[in-house]
């Protein structure tokens, strides 16, 4: 819901609370983030919480539906609180990434399973790093890029957002898109007509491509049960794997910019039946199970509880 500060004759308000919050975030807070310690900035990012109670409650209900056996209601409520806190942490981390000196400020505790990644790369057909939307994913990818592992990210086009007032839409919305594009590193929009070619070009050059398996965009989808609910999965990733012969390695990123971990899992075993539909049917369950396990083990890190 939009909080209106000033309502002119036009249908859209001149200014909304979101305009003010985005202004604070993109200008004073971003500048402060270059010099101020995290503990000083964190309370500012918590400003967004006053509107987030509903989000937390919805997330908790969905976590209840998807929870692991033996998990109590109290534990779920606690996880939902941490889910909310992590959204503020991610906002701070995005500020860190927005500075050219970000690589010096990222503190990676460990990279686990690098041998899995190297084994996959040795196949010579490129590697898809399979992830879900976890809070630490951007910092992890930028860190890996700074250490000689550049990654092409496949992402949904950044929407302008429908929360702006007239002032915000005109002055802040373009700035917000610029900001987000800059912190995402090298990426390609799934809506671009040459998206698949760019992905396969990178794979053929023995490169790394990151695909969020829980992404909602895709021209063709197939339904499957995911965290206790039906969800449509884009089939594009399976077509790319089938036609390129690339390897698929699950990647898990946990923590925050001042202390994070990256874990590469063993390569997923790709079943190769003849036919497109058969290929999807044979491989989708393993992809879903791998990603579900990541989320159920670290539910507070997953950003998509609101969209299942």
């Amino acid at each position: 819901m939009r909080t209106v500060l000033s309502v002119p004759a036009a249908a859209e308000p001149l200014l909304t609370i979101d305009d003010l919050l985005w202004f604070l975030y993109l200008y004073p807070l971003r500048i402060l983030s270059a010099i101020a310690p995290r503990r000083f900035l964190y309370p500012f990012c918590k400003l967004s919480w006053f509107r987030a109670r509903k989000r937390r409650d919805v997330a908790a209900r969905r976590m209840l539906k998807a929870r692991r056996p033996g998990m109590s209601d109290d534990q779920i409520r606690h996880i939902a609180e941490r889910f909310l806190a992590n959204s503020a942490v991610r906002m701070l981390d995005d500020l860190v990434l927005s500075w050219p000196s970000y690589a010096r400020r990222l503190r990676c505790r460990e990279i686990e399973g690098l041998d899995h990644l190297e084994r996959a790369r040795s196949g010579g057909k490129g590697v898809i790093l399979l992830t879900v939307h976890f809070c630490a994913i951007r910092i992890a990818k930028q860190y890996l890029a700074s250490r000689g592992f550049p990654i092409l990210t496949v992402r949904d086009e950044i929407a302008e957002g429908d929360w702006w007032g007239r002032l915000g839409r005109r002055l802040l919305a373009p700035r917000r898109i610029e900001f987000l594009q800059a912190i995402m590193g090298e990426s390609v929009n799934v809506q671009d007509r040459g998206c698949v070619l760019k992905i396969v070009g990178r794979l053929r050059a023995e490169g790394l491509v990151n695909i969020h398996f829980d992404g909602l965009a895709g021209a063709k989808t197939t339904p499957w049960t995911f965290l206790g609910a039906r969800r449509n999965f884009s089939t594009g990733i399976f077509d790319i794997v089938r036609l390129s012969g690339c390897a698929v390695v699950p990647m898990l990123c946990l923590g925050r910019s001042s202390d994070f971990r990256i874990v590469f899992g063993p390569m997923l075993e790709i079943v190769q039946p003849p036919g497109r539909d058969e290929f999807i049917g044979a491989n989708l369950p393993a992809f879903v199970e791998t990603m579900e396990q990541q989320i159920l083990k670290h539910p507070e890190e997953w950003e998509q509880w609101m969209s299942i």
């Binding site: 671009d192 040459g194 396969v200 990178r202 077509d239």
Partner: protein
Amino acid sequence: MDEHLNDTMTRIRRVFVESLHLNIRDDQVPYEQMLEDVAILDSIALLEFVTAVEKEFGIRMDPALLDFDFLRDLPALALYIEHRIEATGAGA
């Protein structure tokens, strides 16, 4: 434009129509228009087309040239394929 290049372009158009199972004659609609339409509907189809072209001509395209604008330029694509065939000795 030399006859050989024309033949290659004709073959590319035919591969395009056949690989994507399009229910049209390959001279009915301009190649560029067909490619645009397919890309909007299903970008995976472009990859299937590239794979079919590579199979037809026995070549492997340079990763840097896997680009929509390059594929759209039929004479440039045909010329590239001819150069690749010459360089690799692949049979036409």
